[in-house]
């Protein structure tokens, strides 16, 4: 009871906001809130995956061939990077609980670096060549691709209709693009927490904010964990 009184006078005493009775209730609310938000995120990605599944079923053969243009190795490296980042993020939360700020910041910094590496590979090595070969859907879309690819792959592609290929790349860019945006947002959130931690903001004294961005980051990984097999592995 006494904590309640103290809080209702000052609002932010010991980091508990005025609407909560105590720190436990606040922490639990945050975690439930984050999980609920992640449910909305799952539903947000859902239709894109559904679209992919639908058209993959409709254009089975053509999609399978177009898949060969994706680089299974680059995708694999990126999967590894994200898995590593997931691990370091989990360690970051662990150290936040232990109140070991130095290690926590180190782990979170590593996570951000992994995110950056992921995006760099994605943009420079995966997307850029596709841009060069005019594989972005739209009036400039050129099909089949002229060169820059293995003869064996080009031979596979020659009778894939333009519409199917364009659809394939629409979904590919749509879904990896949306995922990429989520990676950027995740990196920003982690960086903000790190900044607040360095500047000793009282709001991040507890480990809960770190745990929440951690959950978000794991979600971002998880989406990729579904993406990689669907786009890179399954067709092989």
């Amino acid at each position: 009871m006494s904590t309640t009184m103290a809080n209702s006078d000052h609002g932010h005493a010991d980091g508990v906001f005025h609407q909560y009775e105590n720190i436990d209730q606040q922490n639990e609310s945050y975690i439930v809130g984050m999980w609920t938000f992640l449910v909305t995120e799952v539903m947000f990605f859902g239709p894109l995956f559904f679209t992919y599944i639908l058209y993959r079923w409709q254009y089975q053969e053509y999609f399978w061939r177009t898949h060969q243009l994706l680089d299974i190795k680059l995708g694999g490296i990126n999967t590894m990077i994200l898995l590593a980042s997931s691990f370091s993020m989990a360690m970051g939360v662990h150290y936040a609980q232990k109140k070991d700020t130095k290690r926590q910041l180190g782990m979170m910094g590593f996570t951000v670096l992994c995110g950056a590496a992921f995006l760099a590979i994605k943009l420079a090595l995966e997307w850029a060549p596709k841009f060069q070969h005019h594989m972005i859907p739209g009036p400039q879309f050129t099909w089949p691709p002229h060169d820059g690819y293995d003869q064996s792959i080009l031979a596979l592609l020659h009778d894939v209709p333009r519409g199917a290929a364009e659809m394939y790349f629409s979904i590919y860019f749509g879904i990896t693009g949306l995922h990429g945006i989520h990676v950027v947002v995740g990196m920003l959130c982690i960086a903000i927490i790190m900044f607040m931690k360095v500047r000793k903001f009282p709001q991040v004294e507890s480990y809960i904010p770190t745990e929440m961005v951690g959950l978000y980051w794991h979600f971002v990984d998880l989406v990729w964990i579904f993406l990689y097999p669907l786009f890179y592995l399954m067709p092989r």
């Binding site: 209702s8 609407q19 009775e21 909305t40 559904f50 860019f173």
Partner: protein
């Protein structure tokens, strides 16, 4: 529900010095507030403005259809007007109306919390809503949209050259505003209940909002991404739906209705919650079958996700698909009917007093019943194929959404107005407006069933090939203007009551529920001490009610010219 609270002398004083309304008078104190009650008021004002805009557009539509060749609008303009009418009414009025106003105001109070779990998020969601509204207005100013509020591809993505992109952006933002509200409600209801407020002591109103929030978090992201895909197709030529790009337009319809059918329950479930509160209070009865009513909300939320295909009977989906969707659609009627039966039984067994909120609640029941029953004609494929895209459909969804949700909204505003403002309004005008609304509504939309059945298509601005429809259109237009009077009246007498109304006191209706145990208007912290709940919801005492009624009768007839209950 009686709440034993630790006595605090300040709470007993007749006039609390500080309440949420007079706690800060600057504009900034409103625009930066984190108090759920003030945010509710902000929403109430903005939602009302959008309703007025949408109604004005409805008036234009109705006026246009008086003559078989139309009165004043070009084909283009007519398309833009019914599109905007739909967009404004659905995304900016109906979806936020009850949750964001009454829900925001009441949920924390009903469960004994000081605020929602995330007050800043709550404020943010109001701002998103306002920004979305402004974007929609810019889109109108730049020429409007002519795709219909459903934005069907490929017309919306490839062919229409109106302001589709902006409008989709606006709907997207409004969606996120509603997602944040839903998350806030779910967390609040899970984690912020006062001691003793178990799940089965929650008011049914809270159950209604809980179910609604589930629909919001599962459904709204789907329409958000679908609109984004449409936007990507339109601007970046990422093909998803357009056959030109190898896509399938029916996919858009599936994704769109996967949200938009449950969305009608976002609009109606909170209304059903309001009706449960009003009916128990004015029947002085514990609601009949509390658990059934609570679970029927969840059942509606769940089943609502399985029936979207009834919008696609004529889209070319297979007949078997249609049959499955048809059967599931019929199933949704069951939980809805459960509610109606339970309300009727409650009224039947109770001692009813017909004050304004109750008048609206009875209106709701009548109109919702017609809306629901006509829904059955549309659920079965054979009749639907005849009725699709006729005025029968227009009449059906207006009965459910305008007759249902708007009636409930008005009933709720009248019920909790004394709590929100501390003032009573004029009871006679209140009942009169409820009656006018009911009559006006039926006059507007009953003729539409008839002409829809006879074949008048929707979205046409003329019908000179069959001028016989004119009589129905004239009746309908006349009804619309009666309805407008019914809708406008509360705006005047409610505002008038702010200055001249009698003081309401904490509990003018003698209702149960935590929100009635705190002063009106409530203090910023809602309760002076955290309430402890010891009773089930709606613990009304029928015998006491009977005695009260006799007393009220005596007062009405012998002494008080104003009538009882004011």
């Amino acid at each position: 529900m009686r709440a034993s609270t630790v006595k605090n002398p300040a709470a007993e004083a007749p006039k609390p010095e500080s309440n949420y309304l007079n706690n800060g008078h600057t504009i900034a104190s409103w625009l930066l507030t984190k108090d759920h009650k003030r945010i509710a008021i902000l929403y109430l004002i903005s939602v009302t403005i959008f309703f007025a805009v949408g109604s004005f557009l409805a008036g234009l539509i109705r006026a246009e259809l008086i003559l078989p060749r139309g009165v004043m609008l070009e084909n283009e303009t007519y398309n833009k007007i019914f599109t905007l009418h739909g967009v404004v009414m659905i995304f900016f009025f109906l979806i936020p109306s009850i949750p964001a106003t009454l829900g925001n105001f009441l949920i924390p109070m009903m469960i004994g919390a000081k605020d929602l779990a995330f007050p800043r998020l709550n404020l943010l969601s109001w701002y998103l809503y306002i920004i979305a509204g402004l974007i929609a207005i810019v889109a109108i100013a730049m020429g409007g949209v002519d795709t219909g509020w459903t934005f069907y591809a490929p017309y919306a993505s490839m062919y229409s050259n109106s302001q589709v992109s902006l409008t989709i952006g606006a709907a997207f933002l409004a969606g996120f505003s509603s997602i944040f509200t839903g998350i806030n409600f779910i967390v609040t209801i899970h984690k912020m209940r006062a001691p003793g407020m178990t799940w089965f002591r929650l008011p049914l109103y809270v159950w209604g909002h809980y179910s609604t929030s589930i629909i919001i978090i599962l459904g709204t992201p789907v329409v958000a991404i679908t609109l984004l895909m449409l936007l990507a197709e339109r601007t970046l030529h990422l093909g998803f739906f357009s056959p030109e790009l190898g896509g399938d337009p029916v996919l858009f319809q599936h994704l769109f209705w996967f949200y938009s059918h449950p969305a009608v329950y976002i609009m109606i479930l909170p209304g059903m919650g309001v009706i449960s509160e009003i009916i128990t209070c004015f029947s002085r009865r514990r609601i009949f079958g509390y658990e059934f009513v609570a679970f029927s909300s969840l059942a509606i939320a769940g089943l609502g996700f399985l029936v979207w295909g009834h919008h696609l009977y004529v889209s070319g989906q297979s007949m078997y698909q249609g049959m499955v969707f048809s059967i599931i659609t019929f199933l949704v009627a069951i939980p809805s009917a459960v509610k109606v039966f339970n309300w009727s039984t409650t009224i039947f067994k109770g001692s009813v007093r017909l004050q304004t909120p109750m008048a609206y609640a009875l209106g709701f029941m009548g109109l919702f019943l017609v809306g629901g029953l006509t829904g059955l004609y549309l659920s079965s494929m054979a009749t639907d194929i005849h009725l699709t895209d006729t005025y029968f459909v227009v009449a059906h969804f207006h009965f459910v959404m305008v007759g249902g949700a708007v009636m409930a909204m008005l009933g709720g505003v009248h019920f909790w107005w004394p709590k929100m403002t501390g003032k009573m309004y004029n009871e006679h005008l209140g009942k009169l407006s409820a009656a006018i609304t009911f009559v006006g509504f039926n006059l507007t939309f009953l003729p539409q069933f008839a002409m829809g059945y006879l074949g008048m298509p929707r979205r046409y601005h003329y019908y000179y090939l069959w001028p016989d429809f004119q009589i129905y259109h004239i009746l309908s237009t006349a009804g619309a203007f009666v309805l407008a009077i019914g809708y406008a009246m509360p705006a005047f007498y409610l505002l008038w009551s702010l200055k001249h109304g009698k003081d309401a006191g904490p509990n003018p209706w003698g209702a149960k529920g935590l929100e009635w145990t705190t002063p009106s208007p409530p203090p910023t912290e809602n309760f002076t001490t955290i309430p402890i709940v010891t009773e089930e919801a709606y613990n009304y005492d029928p015998e006491l009610a009977e005695r009260e009624e006799t007393l009220a009768d005596m007062l009405e007839h012998d002494y008080s010219p104003e009538g009882a209950g004011n």
